[in-house]
């Protein structure tokens, strides 16, 4: 099975080990993983800033890079959601191009969704002994229905999840919102951190690097230097920090 790994621009820049964790999980299941070296970004920052032309250009680039693959997998609900649920809107005026784009949309998956619902994995290489809470990132949850998948997989890694009171509440990241409206974004992040802190866990696990950076950044600033902020792929693959 030929699977294209869409690393995402944020993972490429900030936490490559998430990309390698995804690679390990997919290859471990026998996938032939291709990683197009020309990939950059799915175009979401442009799309959500109102720049449709740039978003379309980047969407075309992603489609060209990945359309030969049987599946496209991203370790991010946000980027997979951009491709799967928003690309069609970008090409709604062009039926020919839309058909081509929709073929790629239909085979694009968020990593845990792919592992559970396509590969139907039975076991995962990672083991995590500590206590964990899981944050449901908005795009994965509300655009792609990613909720049970990461929890089921974490269960296979021996993890028991201690749920927050509001695991589905936004962390306040919102892409460029986090910088444009830094005060509000930090305030929302603080509430998420309070919820996490009340769980008294060793790690908060989630599936989107943007939200991870927001939560980790706020946890550290509020003086919490011990709670780990981990991508679900890192836990499942057993790829720890160094």
């Amino acid at each position: 099975m030929k699977v294209g790994l869409f690393v995402t621009c944020l993972v490429d820049l900030v936490r490559p080990r998430i990309g390698f964790a995804a690679l390990k999980l997919l290859e471990g299941e026998g996938c032939e993983v291709v990683v197009p070296q020309s990939q950059t970004c799915c175009g979401q920052p442009a799309y959500n800033s109102g720049d449709r032309a740039s978003a379309r250009a980047l969407a075309r680039k992603v489609v060209a890079e990945f359309e030969a693959c049987e599946y496209v997998v991203a370790p991010s609900g946000s980027c997979a959601g951009m491709i799967r649920t928003h690309y069609p809107d970008l090409f709604r005026d062009d039926p020919d191009e839309l058909a081509r784009v929709e073929r790629v949309c239909a085979k694009t998956y968020e990593l845990t969704d792919f592992l559970v619902n396509v590969l139907r994995v039975e076991q995962v290489p990672g083991r995590f002994g500590g206590t964990v809470t899981y944050h449901d990132s908005c795009a994965g949850l509300r655009e792609l229905g990613v909720k049970a998948q990461p929890r089921a997989l974490l269960g296979k890694a021996g993890v028991t999840i201690s749920e927050m009171t509001q695991p589905e509440q936004c962390c306040g990241f919102g892409g460029t919102f986090a910088v444009k409206f830094g005060d509000i974004s930090s305030h929302i992040a603080e509430r998420k951190c309070e919820d996490i802190a009340a769980c008294g866990v060793d790690a908060v696990v989630l599936g989107d690097l943007g939200c991870m950076m927001n939560i980790e950044g706020r946890l550290r600033r509020r003086g919490d230097t011990t709670t780990s902020v981990l991508h679900v792929a890192e836990v499942l693959a057993g790829v720890g920090e160094n």
């Binding site: 959500n48 740039s54 936004c170 305030h187 992040a189 950076m213 980790e216």
Partner: protein, 473 residues
């Protein structure tokens, strides 16, 4: 009212630092968010009701001219006088003319957001009419000289103690902090106004084409007194509020209280069909309905039409992390939260509310809870697109976006930039990998660290592994 939407960011900053407001906003979570979820869970066919409600609203909007004309015909046949107001100034003019015609000295009002759009109270007072808000929340705000901060719970931003202070100062009675006593006090003050008012002014949650009726949902009983005690009743509402049939409206009323106030049904659902008839024991002698456009028709047949489905339940703001943080006043006009961020720039002008379409994380909690499935984030994004097309964004933002998008289309250049960026940021992070101050992104680092990158991009590491054959099994 004074529009302050263009100062959203600075007002928001003040609101974030207001402990009373923050305490008050915390109530939203328990009262409205949890309550809505419980009320919705009680319905075994919620999804079907929601689909039906959406279809009803769409059907009404697709044939708006037909249903509005049908409403006018049926209402007129009942003795109601129907007025058409193209602008908010038209509304104020019509109401002031009616006040003059009927010799009105005092008007009581039940809660109406459309009249906030019009600043009707100011217009009436300028015309020498005393106006008394009778919804408890609106009454409190009238005393405090403040606009509502929520479309359903207008005074949600105030704590009980703030209301106690206000009542003590304005009523000159001994201070009490017991809610039942505060309510009784307001009731005692309002009772003579109900009895002496010449005109009652209400909104309408819906107008029903089939019967020529207006419908309001209320909880306090004031609505009934405003519609039945004064000689003249004026109902003012937006043209989009028309619903084809009485049966249609019952579907919508199943959803509105559950989403708005976490009730299965409001204490009162009042349908007004024409003025008092011979033999009726109560009701206004004269019933006027003012149908207001004020920007709504601009949305018809365009990509924002879905917004007109809105039934003003307030669920979107209750569930919005941004509204939950800053409250309604920061939004700077009548309608706050996600629906307000769509309506404000649409009704009063994009350039007066540039921040609002961007003041969203796009978490889509609003879209998920909307009882009539308005895709609020998509509409906000369309407004962002319009701002971008018209060059309304700050030049720094435009330049940054253009540069980034240009580079992201050039993989080789992008790889070099990412490689450099990762290395520089990693160095800035130091030993504990925390960037505490990042020039250019201080919005982020003012109250958060920026977790430093590993140092080498995925792409670089992947190429290295390929070369060394590490990844070959």
């Amino acid at each position: 009212m004074q529009i302050t939407s263009e100062r959203f960011k600075e007002t928001a900053r003040v609101k974030l630092a207001d402990p009373n407001l923050q305490a008050a906003l915390n109530k939203l979570q328990t009262n409205f968010v949890k309550g809505r979820a419980e009320r919705v869970a009680e319905l075994d066919n919620f999804d079907a009701i929601r689909d039906a409600a959406t279809e009803i609203r769409d059907r009404a909007l697709a044939n708006l001219d037909v249903y509005l004309t049908e409403f006018e015909r049926n209402a007129t046949a009942q003795g109601t006088v129907v007025h058409w107001a193209e602008t908010v100034d038209d509304v104020n003019r019509i109401v002031c003319e009616l006040a003059a015609k009927y010799g009105v000295r005092k008007a009581t009002k039940s809660k109406s957001m459309v009249t906030e759009e019009c600043a009707l109270n100011d217009a009436l007072e300028a015309a020498g009419v005393e106006v008394v808000e009778t919804d408890l929340g609106e009454y409190i705000l009238q005393l405090a000289k403040e606009p509502p901060s929520h479309i359903v719970a207008p005074v949600v931003h105030k704590t009980r103690h703030e209301v106690s202070d206000l009542f003590e100062a304005k009523h000159g009675r001994p201070r009490t902090t017991v809610i039942a006593e505060l309510t009784r006090e307001a009731r005692e003050i309002l009772r003579p106004h109900f009895l002496s008012a010449d005109m009652g002014i209400t909104g309408a949650n819906f107008v029903i084409a089939e019967t020529g009726s207006t419908l309001i949902v209320t909880n306090e009983g004031n609505g009934r007194m405003v519609t039945s005690l004064p000689r003249v009743h004026v109902a003012i509402t937006g043209i989009e509020k028309v619903v084809p049939t009485l049966e249609d409206v019952t579907t919508l009323v199943r959803l509105l209280p559950r989403h708005g106030t976490a009730q299965t049904i409001t204490n009162y659902v009042s349908v007004t069909t024409g003025p008092k008839r011979p033999g009726d024991t109560e009701g206004a002698e004269h019933f006027h309905v003012i149908l207001v456009d004020a920007g709504r028709s601009k949305l018809l047949g365009a990509d924002m039409q879905a917004m007109l489905r809105c039934i003003r339940c307030g669920a979107c703001m209750n569930h919005c992390p941004v509204y939950q943080s800053v409250g309604g006043h920061a939004y700077g006009w009548v309608y706050p939260g996600p629906m307000g961020s769509v309506l404000t720039p649409t009704y009063i002008g994009a350039e007066k509310a540039l921040d609002l379409p961007h003041a969203s994380t796009f978490c889509n909690q609003c879209g998920v809870v909307c009882p009539v499935k308005i895709p609020l984030p998509d509409l906000l994004r369309k407004l962002r697109e319009k701002q971008f097309e018209h060059g309304l964004r700050p030049w720094k933002e435009r330049a940054g976006l253009a540069l980034w998008a240009w580079a992201a289309r050039r993989p080789k250049l992008y790889a070099v930039l990412a490689k450099t960026g990762a290395a520089v940021l990693a160095r800035l992070g130091g030993r504990d990998k925390r960037i505490r101050d990042l020039p250019g992104a201080r919005g982020w680092t003012k109250e958060r660290d920026f977790p430093a990158p590993e140092g080498k991009t995925f792409r670089t590491q992947y190429a290295e592994r390929k070369r060394s054959g590490v990844d070959r099994k």
